[in-house]
């Protein structure tokens, strides 16, 4: 496991005061919070920042971290010395069960969690298991046809001795037809097991779509940019168009302009009330690199009174 330099992650000196640490965390948290910053990598950065703050904001954990981490550099192979934590009792600041911190963190501070779980398990007490959350990435055709995906879930579970352990499990999940980006699939009883015979929690899968080079999805409507020749747009007629549910013949109205939207009703995502598919015409220009093409362009120049910059007044 790699040593993590929590001071470096927060961008503060090892001698930083509690106020400096708080200020540095708050600024970085605002900038990188995955609910605010949709950039790739923000979530991973935020996790590191939150983990660093979890340790450095707590005087007991910070002292323990300072003592054990002396002389290590970030990324260096790390192994806590045997019995290193015997002098420490972590009283507060126990991260929630849902928090997913690094192995490095778990090796140093995981003990506090186990103690709590044991206490909870030994008492005569019933509690419904926690809900779990995960993201699942699917492709647009999966939403049109339905699909099955194998996903790996990582979560804390109680073992037979009442100890909390992180474990991975694989499950197959059926992706229902008609699911939209941002929607959730709810799987009853697939969250944490309940305590004292109470029901298990649920698992919520938040659905995201992998980017698709041809289509973009907004809610349950789907957009496609369809290249057409200038004469197809001008004269109208039938052209072939791909759609997520197969190729269709599309009638282009005569005198269509660049960017004209043609709506194919009900051919968006097949939800309970299906979305629409919008085909957006993109006029493609034939290259003028042959004498014949140049002759035709010249003829158009001479015979069509066309000024594309009329609206700009020149």
């Amino acid at each position: 496991m790699e040593y993590k330099d929590y001071y470096k992650i927060l961008g503060v000196e090892r001698s930083a005061s509690a106020d400096d640490i708080k200020a540095a965390y708050r600024k970085l948290a605002r900038q990188n919070h995955p609910d605010i910053n949709k950039e790739k990598g923000a979530e991973a950065r935020f996790k590191e920042i939150a983990e660093a703050y979890e340790v450095l904001k707590d005087p007991e954990k910070r002292a323990a971290y300072d003592q054990v981490g002396q002389g290590f550099r970030p990324g260096q192979e790390f192994r806590p010395p045997p019995g290193w934590d015997s002098g420490f009792e972590f009283s507060g600041g126990d991260p929630g069960e849902g928090q997913d911190f690094s192995d490095f963190f778990e090796s140093l501070f995981g003990r506090a969690r186990q103690g709590r779980a044991r206490r909870a398990g030994s008492a005569e007490f019933r509690a419904r298991g926690q809900d779990h959350h995960a993201k699942i990435f699917i492709d647009l055709p999966d939403s049109y046809q339905g699909a099955t995906r194998i996903i790996t879930l990582r979560g804390a579970e109680l073992d037979e001795n009442g100890q909390v352990r992180m474990r991975e499990r694989q499950v197959s999940v059926s992706i229902p037809k008609g699911v939209q980006p941002g929607q959730m699939i709810r799987l009853s009883g697939q969250g944490s097991p309940g305590i004292g015979g109470a029901a298990a929690g649920d698992l919520y899968l938040e659905v995201e779509f992998n980017p698709n080079s041809a289509y973009r999805v907004e809610g349950k409507d789907v957009y496609l940019d369809l290249p057409v020749a200038p004469w197809e747009a001008a004269l109208g007629g039938k052209v072939k168009s791909p759609t997520p549910s197969g190729v269709v013949d599309l009638t282009i109205p005569a005198n269509s302009g660049q960017g004209r939207k043609l709506r194919l009703k009900g051919r968006g995502i097949p939800a309970r009330e299906p979305g629409d598919l919008y085909v957006v015409l993109q006029i493609a220009l034939p290259p003028g690199n042959t004498p014949e093409a140049q002759r035709i362009y010249r003829e158009m120049e001479q015979k069509l009174a066309f000024n594309p910059r009329q609206s700009l007044g020149v």
């Binding site: 708050r26 926690q130 694989q170 999940v173 929607q183 009853s188 957009y223 960017g259």
Partner: protein, 104 residues
């Protein structure tokens, strides 16, 4: 639970026709009931009916409440500031959808 490699789990889609209860929200967000009541009084989520005893919420309240609770604790800010952030994020979403080349 045992390995479920061969079993196919089937859930249901939480779509715009689904309503959720206050219990669904407390479990989804891992918070106590009072926190959900706070979110309602701050106008962050809105029940579809008035009687608090059997409040029901539109399904999008799940992710909105989850976001609100995360922002409150992760950014160490109050729910009033959270509400402002959520409204601004909604506005960014709307503007992005109406952005160049995407107008209706």
């Amino acid at each position: 639970m045992a390995e479920t490699k061969h079993e196919i789990l089937t859930g249901w889609v939480v779509d715009e026709f689904t309503e959720v209860t206050i219990d669904d929200l407390t479990r989804f967000c891992s918070v106590r009931r009072e926190k959900i009541v706070e979110l309602v009084s701050e106008g962050i989520i809105e029940p579809v009916n008035r009687a608090e005893r059997d409040w029901r919420f539109p399904s999008r309240s799940l992710s909105r409440a989850g976001r609100a609770v995360r922002l409150e604790s992760d950014l160490e800010i109050n729910l009033h500031a959270v509400a402002v952030i959520l409204d601004l994020l909604d506005q960014i979403d709307r503007l992005r959808r109406q952005g160049p080349g995407r107008e209706a």
